[in-house]
Amino acid sequence: VGHGSGGELSQRLISELIRPHFDNPWLRQAHDSATLCPGSERIVFTTDSFVVSPLFFPGGDIGELAVYGTVNDLAMSGAVPRFLSCSLILEEGLPMQTLDRALASMGRAARDTGVQLVTGDTKVVERGKGDGLYINTAGIGVLEHSEVIAPERIAPGDLILLSGDIGRHGMAVMATREGLEFESPLRSDCAPLAEPVLALLNAGITVHCLRDLTRGGLATALVELAESAGRELVVEEAAIPVSEPVQGACELLGLDPLYVANEGRFIAFVPADRAVEALAILQGTAVAADSRVIGSASTGHRPRVIMRNTIGSERLLDRLPGEQLPRIC
């Protein structure tokens, strides 16, 4: 299970077991989606599978996730999402209304984000061999700009913008699954991110890199980027918003919100001189209204992520080695 947590084990699974079988220049881009140039048009292609328990949770469901997850990966290349495929793996005995509810939600999500679902497939597995419903989607988007958005472009001095509070998706799903209750309800942040990204690009903002925060949370995304870019990143703890119910749930479960999954948050690396403008544009969109600057790429050459707290103490963020285990002795 640790292999799916988005931490160190996932990383090793990909780099040691999977990637060697399919090595090619596009795969080596090691980004959320691959950019291909079949003709004069640059298109972007990605795929993702969705496994979540429960299928429906406050703030979203598996259908929305399956659309937004793939759309968001396309958006992180700065592409306009266009087409989607959809494969359903159904467990025998899944109630028809449940499937219908999930598909209706998928349809709504596709319409809202302007993608066309153009192909698909359905398989049924025996009872007990699936968690009700798994969905795989693949997506194609088109790049309408010439900007290269990739980790290598992160430059010293770039500011890191975060699009909103973190940890809501992971904690909402977990609270629902475990039957936990909190003063104010926990809702997933599940949302499409193409709009704020395209708003930035259409305004002519130079964007060096984008990354949506999914499994492994903000910390893992930062560590991965620091490593791919070969740069030191410094973030301010106080600038990273965490809602009260997320904080409470994390305290109860002993989790660090920095490592908790999100489904509607991203970070953007923008040159400092365009950051004020970029921030204003993001804040003008509904899903990124709470955007803020959380840190910057430093001049340091050690690929690592430093989180500074208000009294100047500096913590190093690393990938999670599987689960979070206590070290206090």
Partner: protein, 771 residues
């Protein structure tokens, strides 16, 4: 008359202790010619003269050597006779692997203190006075051999008078490497929080003392780094320091000007007196006298019957304290868990928000190190933090272990790496926690320093098995050969190494949480070592859940709930406990996660049992610093001499025996209903743990028992257990100069690896090769 010449090589603690002048005087006394020099291995010398003169020389060489010297090896062989030219002291050469032992930093000697207090002396009130018997050593050395040129004193050109003392073999400052005076040596400086220079010399000192007296927070550049000082009697000042340092409750240590004042505040045993006044000048944990809290405000060590006390460790501290004329809180100049600041720029940046004023000087600190902490336990010293005054003295391993070159990285908290060269293990100074950038930087620098002092291309790296340890991940990134040693096996072997022991033994290793070879969280292991090749886990506490992992450690009340949850028929007690210590919603949430292993992993931890009991006794529900709950239980027991003991069961489990605590918890709850005092229940809890340990020792039937792990920082438990075991004929060995907590882990990692190399075994408990 025949003439002979002898070449002599001496190893051990022979540099920086006035050894060469001693040899010079002795050679002259015996009418011999020749020379003496320091080298990277120790002292080399040649003597030439009559056979009887040489005999006398050899006889007196070991007998009359300087007080601080410790000779560990002495070799001699005949050499060709040369023209006689008198006896000389030669300047040192560097060269091959440095095996000479360097001295730790030493508190001012009586002679220097007398000079400093004498208005006629040219070093009257000079805060950097020192001689061959005292002063900074390890903290100012940048490389070996120990010569002025290799210390941070290199830049100070000696004035004629100092030069005279330094070069006169009959002067007590002959080759005192840090020699200095007001004319040529380091100077004091007072700075504000922006680094502006406010005053120098005596005026700086005077104004710093005034600032403390007026309630200010002074950052003082001490021997190994900055310290923060405030008036120990002023609770508002202490409150301010607590707020700024974000340290709401953790006790502070207090610096006194002399032992007489300490004795008015605390009980001081003869051993504690020796520890307080020794050249190491550690913080000594003392029991406070009841009702005499005049000089020390209540918020220095809230609710704590003990007080950490220290006497001045340098002439600067001595001067400041005698001007201040009152005890001062003295705490590390760092942010919680980080290494301390050691240079001005760093201190002003990092401590600028905490201190009001900086008393500093221009002598650079090369190796920064914290104050050591020691406590009397079971009639001997027990180091809780090993740093200034103790580092870099090595630990000598038993001779039979093969001498593989090793670097052990220790654990992640209270980190302290170590290096093994031959039979000697050099433990670094206490570094702190590795979860912060500065801690990790200090860790890397310290390892680099350890290795450059005696380079070896074949270093094998040793680390813990915990997959989340930064230290382990660091090792795996190095790409060198690496071995992992299970946490409690390392504790066990650390204690055996300290005693130079290698035979069959029982290790009782109780602590917070260590990662077990099977992936479970342990902290109450009984380990059996056959003296040859195998360590076996033979017993631990019955498991209970750790709800929310690390979060549970900050909330003893959760641990108590977990214990009641795991208690057979504990539902009623659990419900009651949840109701009185949690909100309804918190209680419901907690009940939901208690039974789920992925949210509440099982553990068998002695430290967590202490936490649970602290909460059950109503002593501590939520903590603000590590070890707080366990300390509260120990303190509660301190007032009770009760010998009562609760029942427990020793049963068979899947992996050895299991100590079942449930009868004890039931009895504890029953006592509560009967209104037995907290103190008596806390005492009975300690007594029960000691009985548990005895029961397992008797079942194992091994004579030599080693006690290790952070739980044995608890004096009550350590002493009760030792007495009980000794009473039944066991030989009990406790830590002395290596901490029982994770600060001692690296030594155990080294010794265990050496023992495994010796037997070529890889099947033992705790062995796991890193992949």
């Amino acid at each position: 008359m025949t003439t002979e010449r002898l070449r002599i090589e001496i190893g051990g603690l022979v540099q920086g202790v006035g050894f060469r002048p001693f040899v010079y005087r002795l050679a002259n006394d015996c009418g011999l010619h020749g020379w003496v020099a320091n080298d990277s291995r120790g002292v080399q010398l040649e003597v030439q003269g009559s056979p009887s003169g040489i005999r006398e020389f050899m006889h007196r060489l070991t007998r009359e050597s300087p007080a601080r010297a410790r000779i560990t090896s002495l070799g001699s062989k005949p050499a060709p006779v040369k023209p006689a030219k008198g006896f000389s002291i030669r300047t040192s050469r560097g060269g091959e692997a440095a095996a000479a032992i360097l001295l730790p930093d030493l508190a001012p000697c009586d002679e220097c203190l007398r000079e400093m207090a004498d208005p006629a002396n040219r070093r009257f009130r000079y805060p950097f006075i020192n001689c061959t018997q005292c002063g900074p050593r390890f903290s100012i050395v940048s490389k070996l051999p120990y010569d002025r040129a290799n210390t941070t004193m290199a830049g100070y050109v000696l004035c004629p008078e100092c030069r005279q003392e330094y070069t006169d073999p009959l002067d007590r400052r002959f080759h005192a490497e840090p020699i200095a005076c007001p004319v040529c040596g380091p100077r004091l400086m007072l700075r504000d929080t922006r680094g502006n220079r406010l005053a120098t010399g005596d005026e700086a000192l005077q104004r710093a003392a005034d600032a403390v007296r007026d309630g200010g927070i002074l950052a003082l550049k001490g021997v190994g780094g900055f310290q923060l000082l405030v008036d120990a009697a002023s609770s508002p000042s202490i409150e301010r320091l607590r707020r700024r340092k974000r340290r709401p409750e953790k006790p502070f240590a207090v610096l006194y000007s002399d032992i007489g004042l300490v004795e008015r505040e605390c009980h001081v045993s003869p051993l504690e007196r020796t520890l307080l006044c020794g050249a190491e000048r550690p913080i000594v944990l003392l029991a406070r006298r009841t009702g005499s809290e005049a000089g020390v405000a209540g918020n220095v060590a809230p609710g704590n019957p003990n007080l950490g006390v220290m006497l001045p460790g340098s002439p600067l501290h001595q001067l400041l304290m005698s001007m201040l004329q009152r005890p001062a809180v003295c705490t590390s100049g760092n942010l919680s868990g980080e290494p301390l600041c050691s240079d001005d720029t760093d201190a002003i940046t990092r401590l600028g928000g905490i201190a009001d004023i900086f008393l500093t000087h221009d002598r650079r600190i090369s190796n920064s190190l914290d104050d050591s902490v020691v406590r009397e336990v079971d009639g001997g010293p027990l180091l809780l933090r090993r740093a200034r005054g103790y580092v870099p003295a090595p630990v000598e391993l038993p001779p039979e272990a093969p001498a593989v070159d090793l670097v052990a990285v220790g654990a992640d908290l209270k980190n302290c790496p170590a290096i093994a060269r031959g039979r000697r293990v050099f433990l670094a100074q206490h570094i702190g926690d590795l979860d912060n950038r500065r801690g990790l930087d200090a860790f890397e620098q310290t390892i680099a320093r350890l290795r450059e002092s005696s380079a070896s291309p074949d270093d094998k790296l040793v680390c813990d098995l915990h997959p989340g340890y930064v230290s382990r991940r660091w090792v795996l990134k190095q790409g060198a050969r690496a071995t992992g040693v299970q946490h409690h096996v390392a504790h066990f072997f650390s204690c055996m190494a300290e005693h130079g022991y290698s035979g069959p033994a029982l290790g009782i290793c109780w602590d917070g949480t260590g990662f077990g070879s099977d992936g479970t969280l342990r902290g109450s292991e009984f380990l059996q070592w056959d003296g040859a090749s195998t360590v076996k886990h033979i017993c631990c506490l019955r498991e209970f859940p750790l709800p929310g992992g690390e979060a549970a450690i900050r909330e003893p009340r959760r641990q108590a709930a977990a214990l009641l949850f795991a208690l057979p028929d504990g539902q009623g007690a659990l419900r009651e406990f949840l109701q009185s210590n949690f909100s309804a919603q918190e209680g419901r949430n907690l009940s939901r996660i208690l039974g789920k292993e992925e949210l509440a992993p099982r553990c068998s931890s002695g430290g967590r049992l202490f936490d649970a009991v602290a909460a059950l006794l109503g002593l501590c529900q939520v903590t603000s610093f590590e070890g707080q709950a366990a300390m509260a239980v120990e303190h509660a027991a301190q007032g009770s001499a009760s010998g009562r003991c609760y029942p427990f069961a020793l049963t068979a489990g899947a992996n050895g025996r299991v100590l079942d605590w449930s009868p004890m918890v039931n009895a504890l709850l029953e006592d509560q209903r009967r209104g037995i005092t907290t103190g008596e229940r806390a005492a009975a809890f300690h007594n029960t743990l000691a009985r548990m340990m005895l029961a397992v020792a008797e079942a194992a039937g091994i004579d030599n028992v080693f006690l290790s792990g952070g739980v044995f920082q608890n004096r009550r438990l350590a002493e009760t257990t030792s007495a009980l075991l000794r009473g039944r004929g066991f030989m009990v060995h406790s830590h002395r100069l290596v901490p029982p907590n994770d600060g001692g882990i690296a030594l155990g990692q080294i010794y265990y690896t050496r023992c495994m190399e010796r037997c070529g075994s890889d099947a033992a408990e705790g062995r796991s090769v890193c992949v």
